[in-house]
Symmetry: C2
Subunit: 218 residues, 2 copies
């Protein structure tokens, strides 16, 4: 299924880097850890890092019911949600062709505050499984008071664009021929480090496998 | 020197995580690689990943003169520039206290298109040294045509906030006592991988030291 091409989701700069398949959008969203949620607040733009999870073509965000950006969702504001993964630095023979390898997804939607208890529960599960796979079954699930303190917002993925830059430097032929500088990519790697147990765990508590064996999959 | 506390730069949620020293702002900005630039475009918010560099209390962004978001800077629009580093996932005994360790900087400013040739040159150097330290001296510097194709935007760092979450899980005492789940942090590590030389380099070209010896410093 193809991504929409509305006015604001049409990539104009570097159009050859646009991906048009919905599977590419899902892949970028699934690979990221946090998104950047942008909306207009009191007449000026605000961009905040936010946890999320994806369920089909819905993105769920959550936070405290006290958070202004999430409370604002009651009024179905326009939001832009962007997820970016930096994959490497592209060194070119010319500074002009230096670049960054990355994958990014930009979603335009009206935010919708989720109030149906079943959908809230499903959204929290999806967000948990995105941030901390395995925790939904392992940890204590939210009680009524905690649910009341949690705001969940849904963002529709219908209007979105995806951009991917990969591969080496694209220098001008004269610079390639002159061969006075190096060109190539320095990849940026991500990995999970050694788990750091909380000091207030009972002595001898083992790190559970969903934490110990987690692998970076982005 | 302290950070401003204007209405929109005052952290309300998790105020204990706010950092108020300007040095903390500089540290987060210097540690990040790309920022998320938010602004209102045709009545809806837009958030785009963008390269940047810092010179004192000015952030410089650059891009193609064809990029709408940078062209818009001619009209000094309000922007929000956010830099986020995810440092780890916090596993708690309760799902409610699951969290993310992170450092983030949120800057509010009007964008200013840089037109003075000396400032453009300085800005490009600052951006290059941020993304690819050592490249300014190693690679071919921009010529007149390339400069004409590059838009540089300045963002003032006066109005900004910084938030840092670090350390383990903060569970409720009952959950700590029950000890039915693990708690702790799974750190997210970043590192530079092995350089991948461009296939069109002359055979035997060595990887220069500014690439080969680059260490992740974020």
């Amino acid at each position: 299924m193809n991504l929409s091409t509305t006015e604001r989701s049409t990539i104009r700069r570097g159009a050859h880097r646009a991906r048009t398949d919905r599977a590419d959008l899902h892949a970028v969203l699934d690979a990221g850890l946090v998104c950047h949620l942008g909306m207009q607040v009191d007449g000026s733009p605000r961009v905040l890092p936010t946890a999320y999870g994806r369920d089909g073509d819905t993105l769920y965000l959550h936070g405290s019911t006290g958070a202004r950006s999430l409370r604002a969702a009651d009024e179905r504001p326009e939001v832009c949600v962007t997820v970016t993964l930096v994959d490497g630095i592209v060194y070119a023979r010319s500074l002009f062709h230096h670049s960054v390898n990355y994958r990014s997804a930009v979603v335009h939607s009206r935010a919708r505050r989720v109030t149906d208890p079943d959908e809230v529960w499903r959204a929290l599960r999806v967000i948990t499984e995105h941030l901390a796979p395995g925790s939904w079954e392992h940890a204590r699930q939210p009680d009524r008071k905690e649910l009341a303190a949690t705001a969940v917002v849904a963002v529709d993925l219908r209007e979105a664009s995806v951009k991917v830059r990969e591969g080496g430097a694209n220098d001008d032929p004269e610079d390639v021929a002159a061969a006075t500088a190096w060109a190539g990519v320095l990849p940026l790697r991500r990995s999970w480090g050694e788990p750091v147990p909380n000091p207030d765990l009972p002595p001898g508590t083992e790190v559970p496998s969903h934490v110990r064996e987690r692998r970076w999959t982005g």
